[in-house]
């Protein structure tokens, strides 16, 4: 209701109403607008703030991941087999050169202007020129100090500038320690030129145990641990390493270092702003201690190398199954893979056929070493007894085919002991046929020859073959012939096993048991393995073991008993083998030796296989494989006799 004002005489009349509908409406509109603003503000500040905060963070923060060095690998005596070496590089922080880039840009622009802009490039091209010019100046400064003539790769620089501006630009990699020392002393602490240290794999023994240790390759996709913040940020990654073969691949998770990193705030141009918001130092990965004895490994590879043939050598601790030696030749120098393998070296390795680990991946006919299995099958089946005798005339007729004894020798009456000692084929043709292919195959499977050993190494062969009639029918659709049995009896025909498998067989036999499981990770408290016993009467096994003991003395490996090779104080038992295989080059021989020592208390078993490289050449097990086993056993025996020596190598750290 409007108030009524009494007008004063002669004065102005001032009147208003207590409310004006239009003003009220205006208030409402105003209040509505303010409310909208307030709600909007609250929405943005309270509800959307996290979103904006995250957006801003993602936009102006960058994360750099730095790989942690890989863990070391030690042999069973604590000697370093695989470590890391520092790799020194000189780098340039581009973000500190912005004023110089700008000045150089103006200088180049002015030069063109003075030349009436003849051939004037675009602004972008001038920027590239300016950057190249400035960076080359810094590189020249480095060149002067270390007496080099390096040039900046313009494309590398441009790519780096566009994609990895936050990371320092590497000018020279792999500086020598002397060059590093010069730069360390002569570059000012505050210079944009800085020295960068990274790690790369280092193999003190070069090519030793190359296939077992394995190699690494560059890993561009290193990952940070889950608790390292900034997974949503734009991330730059330094190059790491990933295991590609051998132990490096099998235990990659354990060896991988813990990735470190830095989170920087960046300006709108993408340059970092010091100091970093978050920093975490990379941590070295866990270490491994493997069962290898590097002395035995080197002895094996040296002896094999002297023959100049491809081959494999495995030595096992017969009690625990720990692998003391796992050699395969030809090999390659692991240091060639660090930091990356060159094309020429890769081609050379390819040409030599050195990629394959012949000890675990090579499948070969075991030749006469398989006669041990045939003998056990016969003893178990009762077809062979200690009194079994065959007259060896140097040849044996099976059906319409003549099978020759080794060297075509006429040996007269041969029993089991001498059949093993002299590796008489006739004896095993005869009793193999009597025993039958199924019983032989069952015995071979009892020793696990149809399955991978399960050693902790990648890519172990899985296609081993223990043939029997059913296998031949299924695989080839052909019937089994007596000739097949004769072949299988002496380890020929389709049988294919790895040297590692034969090592597990002889290690088991050394203790009167079936095969043991090999292990490559050293465990000082690893229990003694107790696979099933042979379960044959001792009286029957006597000639079997006596035959093996005679092999290195008077038998096919008697070379081990010669004065220049005999290991004084060590008794050895074993069996040689010489297998033939048809190849595109012709029929090649494969020399074998399997054995163990000491006879009275077996502790170590060895299996050696050497590939002949010339068709028709007599690459026999006695001449080509037994000496290698002898070299390995010699080192082993010397260590048993010698007192324990403290190792100078750093103590291996325990793995995670």
């Amino acid at each position: 209701m409007a108030d009524i004002i009494t007008p004063r005489p002669g004065g102005l009349v001032e009147s208003h109403r207590s409310f004006d509908p239009r003003v009220i409406l205006f208030y409402f509109v105003l209040a509505g607008l303010l409310l909208t603003l307030a709600i909007g503000l609250a929405y943005q500040q309270l509800i959307k703030s996290d979103y904006y905060h995250e957006s801003a963070k993602v936009q102006n923060q960058r994360r750099i991941l730095i790989p942690g060095p890989r863990g070391n690998i030690y042999d069973r005596e604590g000697r370093l087999l695989v470590g890391n070496r520092a790799r020194f590089a000189v780098t340039l922080y581009l973000d500190e050169l912005r004023p110089e880039f700008r000045r150089e840009y103006l200088r180049i622009r002015n030069n063109y202007r003075e030349a009436d802009d003849a051939g004037l490039p675009s602004a972008g091209q001038i920027e590239i020129l300016a950057r190249h010019s400035v960076v080359q100046r810094y590189l020249d400064q480095v060149n002067r100090i270390i007496d080099r003539t390096e040039k900046v790769d313009s494309r590398d620089l441009h790519r780096h500038y566009l994609q990895q501006r936050l990371l320092p630009f590497v000018l020279i990699e792999d500086l020598t320690p002397e060059e590093y020392a010069r730069l360390y002393e002569q570059l000012p602490v505050t210079s944009p030129l800085q020295l960068y240290t990274s790690s790369t794999r280092y193999y003190p023994y070069g090519a030793a145990a190359a296939h077992t240790l394995g190699y690494v390759s560059i890993n561009n996709a290193i990952e940070a641990s889950e608790d390292f913040p900034g997974s949503d940020l734009r991330t730059f990654k330094m190059k790491g390493a990933i295991g590609r073969n051998g132990l490096e691949a099998e235990f990659d998770d354990r060896l991988q270092g813990e990735t470190g990193g830095i989170i920087y705030r960046v300006d709108p141009s993408g340059y970092r702003v010091e100091p970093p918001l978050e920093k975490r130092t990379p941590v070295q990965g866990g270490s491994l201690t493997v069962t290898l004895d590097i002395d035995m490994q080197i002895a094996a590879e040296k002896a094999m190398g002297e023959l100049g043939l491809a081959g494999a050598c495995v030595a096992l601790d017969v009690r625990t199954g720990e692998v003391l030696t796992l050699a395969s030749l030809p090999a390659y120098d692991l240091n060639d893979f660090s930091p990356r393998l060159g094309q020429a070296t890769a081609a050379q390795i390819n040409e030599q056929g050195a990629w394959i680990n012949r000890a675990t991946q090579g499948l070969y006919p075991p030749g006469s070493t398989f006669k041990l299995i045939t003998a056990l099958a016969g003893l178990r089946a009762g077809t062979i007894t200690p009194l079994s005798v065959v007259e060896c005339t140097g040849a044996y007729r099976v059906g319409g085919r003549i099978f020759v004894c080794n060297n075509h020798r006429d040996r007269g009456d041969i029993d089991l002991l001498h059949a093993i000692e002299k590796s008489c084929n006739t004896f095993f043709y005869h009793y193999g046929l009597a025993t039958g292919p199924d019983a032989i195959a069952i015995e071979a499977r009892r020793f696990g020859l149809d399955d991978p050993t399960g050693i902790e190494l990648p890519h172990e062969a899985r296609a081993m073959i223990i043939p029997d009639p059913a296998w031949k029918k299924e695989r080839r659709g052909e019937p089994w012939y007596a000739g097949d049995t004769a072949n299988v009896s002496i380890g020929q025909g389709d049988i294919a096993v790895t040297p590692l498998q034969m090592a597990t067989v002889i290690a088991g036999l050394a203790r009167g048991r079936t095969n043991i499981s090999p292990h490559i990770l050293h465990d000082p408290s690893r229990p003694v393995q107790n696979p099933p016993r042979l379960d044959l009467p001792t009286s029957q096994l006597m000639p079997f073991y006596a035959g093996m003991q005679a092999v290195p003395i008077t038998g096919t490996a008697r070379i081990m008993n010669t004065p220049f090779m005999k290991i004084q104080g060590l008794t050895i038992a074993g069996k040689t083998g010489t297998a033939q295989k048809r190849t595109p080059k012709g029929t090649l021989n494969f020399a074998w030796f399997v054995g163990y020592a000491p006879v009275e208390n077996p502790q170590v078993a060895v299996a050696v296989m050497m590939e002949g490289d010339t068709p028709g050449e007599d690459t026999g097990g006695g001449r080509f494989a037994a000496p290698i086993a002898n070299a390995v056993l010699k080192v082993w025996h010397a260590k048993q006799a010698a007192p324990a020596v403290d190792s100078d190598a750093p103590a291996p750290s325990s793995g995670p």
């Binding site: 070496r85 320690p177 020392a181 360390y184 002393e185 002569q186 790690s199 990379p282 070295q284």
Partner: protein, 278 residues
């Protein structure tokens, strides 16, 4: 007549104009001005230095001549004998080095000329530790020349003026030297630490191989390696009193105890590199 308000603002106006003029002045002019100022100021500091020397002289004058002569003679006898032995050793070592260099066809190490100099001024703070010495470009001193004293390496010349030079001491974080552990040949890195004044100076050693050990109880002597191209080999830097393996497992890093005499230097020797023979 200017209004009082403008009149009061005149000093600020003048200051502004001066600052503006300073900003727009060419860099070369400013540098010349700065150097000239330093050269004008230097004689004052040098005079003070001479005065201190005079003060020491008169302090010695309070002693009898006989006392001084006896003290000096005793000291000289011991020193003379020691120097004689060192001289003989050095001659033999020099001959051996020359023989090996010839045998291995190695270039000769840089030769130096010694230039003794008195310390004029000490400038110590957390960020740098410098001294000013009473020799400059007139005596042939160049930037980068190594500086030594009785305890080993003192530092490196960073600025050279006509009659004075500024030396950054090895206790300063801006100094890096390629070093080695005495008895070892592998290069390691030495860098001065952040040292507060009046505190025993320290540095740090990095890139130390893992098989080297040092503790406070069994410190290892750190010397120059000669590989860096600035310092001759074998000069003492300090004693490594701690070493710890880095988290990346590649190297060790540790602390270096420097000679406390670094903080009270009176005289140093600048090693001026001689031009190599053609």
């Amino acid at each position: 007549m200017p209004s009082p308000r403008i009149d009061q603002a005149r000093p600020y106006l003048t200051l502004g104009i001066v600052l503006l003029a300073w900003l727009v002045l060419p860099t070369v002019f400013k540098r010349v001005l700065r150097v000239s100022f330093y050269e004008l100021q230097a004689p004052v500091e040098i005079s003070f230095s001479y005065l201190r020397d005079l003060q020491d002289f008169w302090a010695l004058k309070t002693r009898s001549k006989n006392e001084i002569i006896e003290a000096a003679r005793d000291q000289a006898r011991g020193l003379g004998a020691a120097y004689e032995v060192t001289l003989q050793e050095n001659t033999a070592l020099h001959a051996e080095i020359e023989r090996l260099e010839t045998l291995l066809r190695l270039p000769s190490q840089v030769d130096y000329r010694s230039e003794p100099a008195r310390v004029v001024l000490r400038d110590f703070n957390a960020w740098w530790q410098r001294i000013t010495i009473r020799k400059g470009s007139t005596q042939g001193i160049t930037v980068g020349s190594p500086v030594i004293y009785a305890g080993g390496v003192a530092g490196r010349v960073t600025e050279v003026h006509a009659y004075t030079s500024v030396v950054e001491l090895i206790s300063s974080p801006g100094v890096r030297i390629a070093a080695t552990f005495e008895g070892d040949t592998r290069p390691v890195g030495f860098q001065g630490g952040v040292n507060a004044p009046f505190v025993a100076p320290r540095g740090r050693v990095e890139f130390v191989p893992l098989d080297i050990f040092a503790t406070a109880a069994q410190p290892r002597r750190l010397v120059t390696s000669g590989l860096g191209g600035v310092y001759p080999p074998g000069l003492a830097l300090g004693r490594v009193v701690s070493l710890e393996t880095d988290t990346d497992g590649l190297f060790k890093t540790g602390g270096v105890q420097l000679d406390p005499r670094l903080g009270e230097l009176n005289e140093v020797v600048v090693l001026v590199p001689l031009p190599s023979a053609p």
